[in-house]
Amino acid sequence: MKRFRRHGQESHRDRIKQELYGFNKTVEHGFPHQPSALVFSPSLQLLAIGTRSGAIKLYGAPGVEFMGLHDENAAVTQVHFLPQQVDLVTLLDDNSLHMWTLRAHQGVSELLEIGRFTLTGPPGAPPSVTRVTAVLTHSSGDLLFLGTEGGHVFVVEVPGFRELEERNISLENVTNSLPEDYGGRRSLEHVESLQENPVNPRQVLIGYGRGMMVIWDLERQSAVKHIPATQQLESVWWTEDGGHVLSSHSDGSYCRWMVAGEGTQSEQEKSEVPYGHFPCKAISKIIQLPTEQGPPFLFLSGGMPRASYGDRHCISVIHSKTHVALDFTSRIIDFFVIRDGPDHTGDPSALVVLVEEELVVIDLQTEGWPVIQTPYLVPLHCSAITCSHHVSAIPLKLWERVLSAGALQNTHYSKKPWPITGGQNLSPDAPQRDLLLTGHEDGTVRFWDASGVCLYPMYKLSTAGVFLTDAEPNDNMNQGTEGEWPPFRKVGCFDPYSDDPRLGVQKIHLCKYSGYLTVAGTAGQILVLELNDEAAEQTVEATVADLLQGQEGFRWKGHTRLEVKEEPVMFPPGFQPFALVQCQPPAVVTALTLHSEWKLVTFGTSHGFGLYDYQQKNTVLVRCTLNPSDQLAMEGPLSRVKSIKKSLRQSFRRIRRSRVSLRKHHVNSAAKVQEANARLEAELAEMELAPVQRKIEARSSDDSFTGLVRTLYFADTFLSDSSHHTPSLWAGTNGGSVLAYQLRLPPVERRAEDPVSAHPAKEIQLMHRAPVVGIVVLDGHGSPLPEPLEVAHDLARSADMQGCHQLLVISEEQFKVFTLPKVSAKMKLKLTAIDGSRVRRVGVAWFGSSRSEDYGESGLTVLTNQGDLHVVSLPGVKLQVQYPCIRREDVSGIASCVFTKHGQGFYLISPSEFERFSLSARCVVEPRSLVEVPSQTPSTTLPRAQPDGPSVAHRNSTRATDDVEGSARRVMEHALLNDETTHDHPTARFIITNLTHGNCQSSLCVCGLTCSFLTAVLQEIQKSLEGYQP
């Protein structure tokens, strides 16, 4: 009996768990790491980016995002949309072609791979024969032309990838058609470019590497014209009227050829080296677009003089008399131009450039060609992200003030709306306003609107202005002087080089109710800032907090304190610093908390912690947590525990800095470079030689960095007796101790005069000595205490002060609940002793039930060093769910994780991208968007079933969308079983990779189609499916 009841309870609990928790990686924010290909579909108004890791990402209007990942771990080298369709073809560097489509399913489009294909040459042919170098998607929408390294052009029918051997254009055919005198019959080399005649789809231009271009008539299967360029070919552009061809070459020249006329040989109209005289680099891409009235736009990528500007990444835009060389921050991957008009054939309106680290969009219709701010693909890493902080449910007032402060910073952006508008964003409006704050290496804090699918930049705060640094502002922004040639103009914001690494932001805490912000950095600086809507000039006075407290025998070998500007500084509207604490020694700040109601800030480093009263601007408490035998902590900024990655980065920065300083100081910079290189090598050698063995030893009080303060917490609780609750401060150290202080605050009316005092109340040494990473006080109901001012703003139920409070101490190894005020252990959950994983990140979250609106539970969200996410219930500290999330090797990803208060989280999947995930079943932010097939769809070869037909095969369609492929296969099998008349030919090897059964629209993709009867087979299948429709 008892067992049955127990079982019932457990299944009840399981059901509640299902309603509360669910793990999804929902959307990737930021800029894709290592993009490798770009394409734009004017008909869909969608932008597609391929990356070196095999991902393909589609973006349309803000919020319209799709992402796909190739199974092969190969770089995407080219992406092409099929004209007027929702399909696209990708070419990977393993020479495989992939067909993707946007399939509507339950009202939302999904990006699905529907087929793959690798070109097979004749037996015995070298691989270069079929190595694809150029792809042309023909405007008919069903033909692919694949130019190869061997110089052949293969024709393939899509979407089924059927090779049309009879239509291939072999190199021999082309060579034979050439005039006898051409280049002594030398090889034409690979196919560099394939272009369709914009006015005559029967003609295709084949550009060969050596320079020769041939216009081929597809119907007559013969060459129409030759364009005898003599330089290595880089790219070809066929002008819109079909009358001219522009070719760009590796010597930095471009030529214009007349192709409209009669005769088999084209005339060279013009040949120019735009940045001439001296040898130039190749012009890798050329585009010319006409305007309604007036001269055309010409876009050239590259072509800079090799010696003087060979390292610049430039795109030149030439329009009439205006000539600008846009100077980008990183290597140019590709670019395209968006055109006005209903059919997108009007004037060029925007230039979209994908460079290695950002996407830049230039408004070509506004004077001065300003940059349009991107709503997505924002380079999060324009300076490396050093920390992040998430604040949920921002009050509207603060939100608007931050937005308006941000708007004032963005005046140099174009006012034009975002020009890429494809798809419909169907995701519901964000239920609340969420802010994500990222701290950066250059001392800036960026505010992002993290409410929805788009991580939109709101405001940028720079803390560098408070300090004196070596760098003069804007010394590298060499704004082009008059008459400079080439006429450079810097665009883009990616700037990974920090002038002073001490400025790096390490901890952020924002109070969303009061608008107070505190930011702490690498050199022990803690700034308290206040939101001010007006610009203000003020002096920021520094208070030094000596964390050593007379501890002797230590020598700080790390960096010095930042110097503070003594004269008043003009701060723009926004967050303005009004108080500054500098820790001594100036070690990196490792913990920071602000209590806006009590007007206190507490901060910790590897040496101790302090409490600062920012109303009276004095230090209330300084406590040294150092173990006297811990020499390491004293010597420098965590020098021995820093990651190899970090040190490599620093080494590179040193090299770079010494290069930069070459101009200023000519002395011994070469020696510096050498030194940096030597250090780099030594570090690498050390990394390789480290033996893979681990010491098994209990932690002792003599371990290094036991005094490092890991967490700080303010609580109004019963610290010393059970009848009076008092403000208290809690600190947890790396050595597993918890220190509690009772705070005495003067009454509100005397807050400005009477001193705040702190008295030591309790110390707890955890026996297992693992670092304390979190401290939470639970109220009488077992819920975490509300945030300061939360109750005052009526946004939280006030804490239960009647029942017994409990103290939850989270160490890296276990969760432990103690009673208060008498600290005795009540419950615990062990993690490391059981499965060897350790807590890396922890947050308190509220999980709402997806089923009933008013049910919810508090819980701890935990990320372990194994990359697993756990939810631990409160106050019972029971493990609820566990999901693998991050690869355990991805140390920086794990370290970057930040949790929201509603069960979501973010972590960096690359230096420039946040993955957003959700542990909550209710609170999920994911892109939901629909892309419809353009209206003027040409007829396709594959018959398509009528959409929206009710379908018998729809039976199991209530399944989750991510299982479409599996269920589609099942439906297909079902269909096959019930139609025995057809298609069981033994050699018919076809793989149906997909079929959306939701609307019975099937698109069959078949691999290895070599038999001619397969088309018939497919039609039979199609028929059989349609047979299910009543």
Binding site: I696, E697, A698, E763, A833
Partner: protein
Amino acid sequence: MNKNHRVPSNRTLGAVEVKSKFGAEFRRFSLDRSKPGRFDEFYRLLQHMHRIPNVDLLVGYADVHGDLLPINNDDNYRKAISVADPVLRLFLQRKEEADYSAFGLDSLTRPKKTVLAAMLLRPDANRKKPLVIISLPRDFRPVSSIIDVDILPETHRRVRLYKHGQEKPLGFYIRDGSSVRVTPQGLEKVPGIFISRMVPGGLAESTGLLAVNDEVLEVNGIEVQGKSLDQVTDMMIANSHNLIVTVKPANQRNNIVRSGGGGGAASGSSGHSSDSGTSFYGYSSPGTAVATTPAHIIQNFHPEELESDEDDEDLVIEVDGEAMPIPRTSSASCTIPFIPRYVPHLDLRTTNGALASHNRSGSLGTLSTADRGLEGRSLEEEGTVITL
């Protein structure tokens, strides 16, 4: 001092008369025999009675034989109460002084010669070794043990290392390696974790129960297969206060022959663990291997003490409710006279973590007075060698 005025048989069943001596002062009070309470309460009571609230004490009592035995946990406290006949005579010492004296035998014995005549454990005639080799009873404590011999395959060994306080490093390293398993599909090479190095003088080395190239199979009952080296390291460290490692010894020649099977070479059936490192053992001639590395298992218990656990005091507080059965060896330790701060007491502290240090004072002063200062004497010298 050993007055030993035995009170005649008018024992009051209800109360225990306590006579407590601290320095030159005596206190007398009584306790309810049926409800002795817990040791920590008793300890506070003593502090209160002597008005020495902040002094750390070593509590000892004279048993019926006139031996001075320690009271430092609930079990031996209860034992002391139960044997009091009816007077319980207590001797309190300052912990600091005792600690100090721990470094020399004489400094403690000299002022208290009469009592400490009793400290020589027991007047056991069957002890063959000369008395000088026997250390202070306080040094008798389990350091390691082989457990679960009856349920494990003979090729495996489950070793428990007791880490009391900080006196001695555990002292070993582990590494990645590969091990060969017998599977239905044939031999299969699987990754494994191996002991890679022993720290000379460390606990692991001095027990002799673990050796370089032993494959680690479990940590505190949890299999390590599929776990990374770092994970296993963290697991071991998290359990370091009471580490139970199941290993497959690289040297399989000294296994216990339980079922009358073959001799030392009978191990291959359950999969011989081998990798580049272990192969050394595999190929060395059996004769030398056996001769040079006898599988001596060093414990600090004498066989006869193992038998003495018929009294009900073997309720060792198991740390964190491990799945392991309570090892008999450690329960035996309770009957050994020992001075405070050893296993049971420490185990108590470990279970409650910080609580213990807190309960005692709630003040800052007592934070982490980690029990330390134990001599680095090699344990083999005093310990008895039991060859299984």
